[in-house]
Subunit: 425 residues, 2 copies
């Protein structure tokens, strides 16, 4: 017997995960053995040495890795589903900045962040990388709520010191000082939640600010998140703001915000080949946000091509460019957008398959957190148990068909148990 | 006082409809007066003559026209949300034909059709144009169920006499005979439901069969529905099957199935200019099925362009190419697809606006049924009452924003009352 029995947990059910993006690992009526936080193994027949341990028998249910949201704005939760007649820049000015300014008010922030965290939990998102606002006090409230809930998250106090309304404009030095204080205050405070350096995007941050944020990231080994190459007008704007840089990515790279520490870049719709190569070289993780990219008419990121180039990619709900926190819905959206990219451009481009988007929503995004998002040996045990009985009126299909229908027609009500870091929450 | 009081119904609430596709008609806290089945008027202040009539006060709720589904396959209800890795023709062979063959079995047909009709009701679809299967007995069961529910529908017994599996292949003369008997049997049997001539699509029907179906349509003044120009392989196949015809539309036109009686053609993704002109001239109504068109990688129909050409258009859920009967979801899908068409093709193409898709889902599709889908004077009164309280955590937005959020985030639970032909069902 490995370890003491009381640290071992065994779940039984139909187990599905993806070691690679081109294959489902499926064990029907199989067993997952977990010791402490970590997977010991997945078995179709339970090894003799575990025979005396109690089994959580989920019978015909599906057991999948927890879903990972690599990019979302908790502070935009109250404005989802409106304003989608606008593209990115007017949408930011008309809706987003007005809403984010409200987070100076702690009681408003508490109310909205509580709703956000509850919904994140309900939708089965086990780990997330999140934008808050410039307000450090409200940002810590969000971090508290996530930690209490047991959701693993990186949360960013946003930095902005140019091209934004007065209500959100920071003095550059204060922005840096507040960021340092905030990091010091919250770095070791939480069990599940960590800070992430969050320059909003190039147009909102002066070179001075970006430079200092890059220094903080490197000095304190703090990861970084931002937006890149979402919309053509935004890209043109960045070009005008930084004629000294070769491209959008080059601006972040110059300031050590492009993979010098662990980095997520959201959107990546219109990257140049040079930017793609740099992203791959620097191991920047792309957060693909298909729903947001269509809602704000940004375009369709070439994810299938990027996958074949072995760039790191996960999925993001991008609330409130996306209207919905459900990563199942984002998976369906990713498939749909890739089909339209193929149909419209008739390039040597492939549609994303079900297994590819499943991989992106689990192991792909999980890489930002370490060995996360799969049921391979040694991975942290995050899982969802799915009851899909209501989706099948007659006999159920194959396991792969059950996953497909879950992605297209399932919702939070199909999730009956959530495990994060080995613990049921 | 016009008419007797007991034939007049008054509803109060926030009233939204579209007389044209470029404008919302909105009356906040307004009154709809209905006499028998028909709208007398919409008022912001109730005229004196109606003062003694009881008011159904829906307070801050939204009152919108009933939603119209111009194209859906009741017989594919059990296979929604699977098989979307395939394009149209392999999808038909692998999933659809296998499923439709099951409708020879009356108990299976009854079970699935009952679930379909319940869901149609739940989703707030007040009128629909529906494909059944080749089986007349099962088709009549579907018609019975719809009529009992009070949903207005055209239902088609499908005709197929070539290029399909034996289980669905009809002998041409029997197909014609069965169709004639079926029409005779059901033409006057129902209050809300009528038959519609339904050649599946050109590849499934011989010229002989199409010719006879066109004759029946004209002789008995029966409307027609079919598919056209959904997928490039399908179009190529039709070209090979009918080298004597100029294009796909020309095949139907030759056999009097293209507007000679009231006609719906579903999809219209890749129409030629010549076909578009013929569709306009013949007043064929296009059923735009955006969700299905992306799920089966068919493409994006140029709906904004067609709208500006003043072609008649409505929306279709196209279960099971589409995975969902909700016309709210189809409306969101139509907006999304149009944005991607604009982004990808960078043509002189506009995205569809919220008011345009609202128009398509109500008055646009309603035209197939007469004066339906609007709250203009003399229109038949079909309406949904919407409680969107759960969609707004803080203060509600404008009426237009409430409609937008309903389309993106609402579902059947937001529909609290349904009226069809002046009657609450």
């Amino acid at each position: 017997m490995e370890g003491s029995e009381k640290n071992i947990k065994i779940l039984k059910g139909n187990i599905i995960y993806t070691e690679t993006s081109d294959l489902f690992n499926i064990v029907k009526n199989g067993y997952i053995v977990v010791q402490e936080n970590y997977i010991v193994g997945v078995y179709d027949k339970l090894p003799e040495k575990f025979k005396n341990i109690n089994i959580e028998n989920y019978e015909d249910k599906l057991i999948i890795p927890g879903l990972i949201d690599l990019h979302t704005h908790a502070s935009q939760f109250a404005i989802k589903g409106i304003g989608y007649d606008k593209e990115l820049l007017p949408w930011l000015n008309t809706y987003t900045f007005v809403e984010e300014a409200k987070f100076k008010n702690i009681s408003y922030a508490t109310k909205i962040y509580k709703e956000f965290v509850d919904e994140l939990y309900n939708e089965g998102t086990t780990r997330a990388v999140i934008f808050a606002t410039i307000h450090t006090e409200a940002t810590e409230i969000l971090m508290n709520l996530l930690d209490e809930k047991g959701i693993v998250a990186y949360v960013g106090k946003v930095n902005m010191d140019r091209n934004c309304p007065d209500t959100l404009m920071e003095n550059s030095d204060e922005s840096i000082k507040n960021t340092l204080n905030w990091i010091q205050n919250c770095s070791k405070k939480y069990k599940f939640v960590k800070p992430i350096i969050t320059p909003r995007f190039v147009p909102s941050c002066t070179s001075y600010l970006m430079n200092e944020l890059g220094n903080i990231a490197i000095n304190d080994t703090i990861p970084v998140q931002s937006h890149i190459s979402e919309n053509l007008s935004e890209i043109q704007w960045v070009k005008e703001l930084h004629p000294e840089c070769k491209n959008y990515g080059d601006v972040y790279d110059k300031f050590n915000l492009f993979g010098q520490t662990k980095t997520i870049m959201a959107h990546c719709v219109h990257l140049t080949e040079e930017e793609i190569n740099k992203i791959k070289k620097n191991k920047v993780l792309i957060a693909h946000c298909p729903t947001s990219n269509v809602n704000l008419s940004s375009g369709i990121a070439p994810i299938s091509k990027l996958l074949r180039k072995e760039v790191l990619i996960g999925l993001g709900s991008d609330i409130a460019g996306g209207e919905c926190l459900s990563m199942l819905s984002v998976m369906a959206s990713a498939i749909r957008m890739s089909k339209l990219r193929k149909v419209c451009f008739k390039e040597d481009e492939k549609s994303l398959t079900l297994k590819e988007v499943f991989y992106l929503a689990t192991k792909g995004g999980g890489k930002f957190f370490g060995n996360v998002g799969s049921f391979e040996k040694g991975y942290e045990f995050d899982a969802l148990v799915i009851d899909d009985d209501n989706l099948w009126k007659d006999n159920k299909g194959s396991i792969e068909e059950r996953i497909e229908r879950l992605v297209y027609l399932g919702n939070q009500k199909n999730i009956i148990s959530r495990y994060i870091c080995g613990r049921e929450i």
